[in-house]
Symmetry: C2
């Protein structure tokens, strides 16, 4: 039976921050990403694609804010579900086309995914994830009245931004649906934006205004699906120690214990490489064969051991490239 | 094996036009709708839920328009996919809760659905479906330059509105995924807003700015799934002849040929009861057992033959109630 890979697409696989973010630009980037993913699919793997939604949900929140006198804004959980529909559809369209170009005929389906978090997660007491529009000092009191936690993240006239909690993913509610589709041979798109966060309240799921890290959600999904591999795609080809400094060292291969050590030493910043390394560690510790952190461009080579940073259970001796 | 029902939810099952459309109001209406659907599910049927998205996509288009200086607006096909995510998520949440209250444990999954239409469909030459915000005379030239077809649908300062084509649904692209999930016992939410319309271009699917009638899409889905029943829910309990006039007659039961006759005589207006009767006819003609047109409140009774209008292949003698 073919091996299963969960591929987590970073924001740069969906939108180029240097462009205006028009749908034509989004489609151009997604098209390029899907060409790469199609090459992996064509090698016979079973694939689940997860993806970020930062810029998309940010845009949607700005639109909600701008039109708030005309249309009641929707909360963050609903906006997250909307971006799952948006990006799922765009990925389906482009992946269909890229697969067809390679002569591969496979259905591609998007499952709207809720991910349970613990309502007692300490992250709820210390929101850290900035989302949506920037606000002025003048707008601040009304927003705080509304229950928003604001943080001064910028300069100038609009320095304030809302921050929300980023709780740990505990359960993929739609796991059964994702597994069933995967078993029919479909390529499945799921856990978009890390999943819509829900907490259990009196035995029912209630949406919460939070953001789940998509790499950690992907690791949980990969574990639950008993996937063999987790491929975490980002904008650098390999994980580095002393990143951006003269001592910078890129890593080809890491054992879980090495990865954990470097993470504790603070080599991988939170909100960036940190969650990716943490996701890789969790996946391997839960029984996964191999996790890769690399760029979209090098994804195929990484699976063949020719690029990227490979994280696995067994210490195989580090080959360090400078 | 249990019978399969495709349930098409009308807009009134998702949003009360008399309220402000806040998410709390939307959830209240969806909760009530899901309580009714859960009662049907609890009777042992296999269920696919389809739904409209008119007010939701209208709101999203207004938000896109209001923020257009800050965020590039997304085209109608992408907005449609977003409302599938939005309403799919809200329906999943409320249906989970309603099923749990009845002691029924079934997964509920939403599939983002594309529906193919013919690029040569005559509807493209004569757009009729009004969507999104109202515009002033002053805004008209720029919009027409953009390729929008505008129609004067209102009075006052903003009488213009965009109209798009409503082409006939030809193929449910995600049929395989919907069927696979249904076979695992899940309740499936699909074809939201009639599906995202796509046309075939050089062998690939391209999204188009159109709106597919959700009842006709539901009839196609019911046919392809070989569902036994199609339940079309709206805001009246039964189909009427001479609706709203002193000669008004409500119908309990209709054969396909009677329904076709009344449709041709113009009893059922386009954009309202017309597509529902047409959907029922198509479903029965394609081999379906029974189609019902009724209100959400009477849905359970309709399936038991105690309410609603039943349309079937065989002429059973009309019982007319005044």
């Amino acid at each position: 039976m073919s091996k299963t890979i969960v591929i987590a697409l970073g924001g740069n696989a969906l939108l180029d921050p240097k462009t205006n973010g028009s749908v034509a630009e989004q489609i151009r980037i997604i098209e390029r990403s899907c060409e790469k993913i199609a090459q992996i699919i064509a090698r016979g793997y079973r694939i689940v694609i997860t993806h970020g939604n930062g810029p998309q949900v940010g845009n949607l929140l700005i639109q909600q804010e701008e039109a708030k006198e005309l249309v009641p804004p929707l909360p963050l959980d609903v906006c997250g579900a909307m971006t799952q529909g948006q990006l799922g559809y765009l990925l389906q369209q482009e992946l269909d086309e890229a697969l067809q170009a390679l002569g591969v005929r496979l259905p591609v389906a998007t499952v709207i995914t809720r991910v349970a978090v613990d309502s007692q997660d300490p992250a709820f007491r210390r929101p850290t994830k900035p989302i949506g529009p920037f606000y002025s000092e003048r707008e601040r009191p009304a927003l705080e009245q509304k229950g928003y936690i604001l943080e001064k993240v910028g300069k100038g006239a609009r320095p304030w931004r809302r921050v929300v909690a980023s709780p740990d993913p505990k359960e993929i509610i739609e796991l059964g649906a994702i597994r069933a589709l995967l078993e029919t041979g479909a390529v499945v798109i799921a856990c978009g934006g890390g999943g819509v966060p829900v907490v259990c309240e009196d035995g029912n799921w209630r949406g919460v205004e939070a953001v789940i890290d998509k790499d950690l959600a992907s690791a949980l999904l990969a574990k639950e699906l008993r996937a063999e591999m987790l491929l975490l795609l980002t904008d650098v080809e390999r994980v580095a120690l002393h990143f951006g400094s003269p001592q910078e060292v890129f890593l080809d291969r890491l054992s879980v214990s090495e990865a954990r050590g470097y993470l504790l030493e603070g080599h991988f910043p939170p909100g960036s490489m940190g969650p990716k390394v943490e996701a890789a560690i969790r996946f391997i510790e839960s029984g996964g064969e191999c996790a890769y952190i690399t760029s979209l461009e090098k994804a195929v080579e990484a699976l063949e051991g020719r690029a990227g940073t490979e994280i696995s259970a067994i210490h195989l001796g580090q080959r360090i490239k400078r």
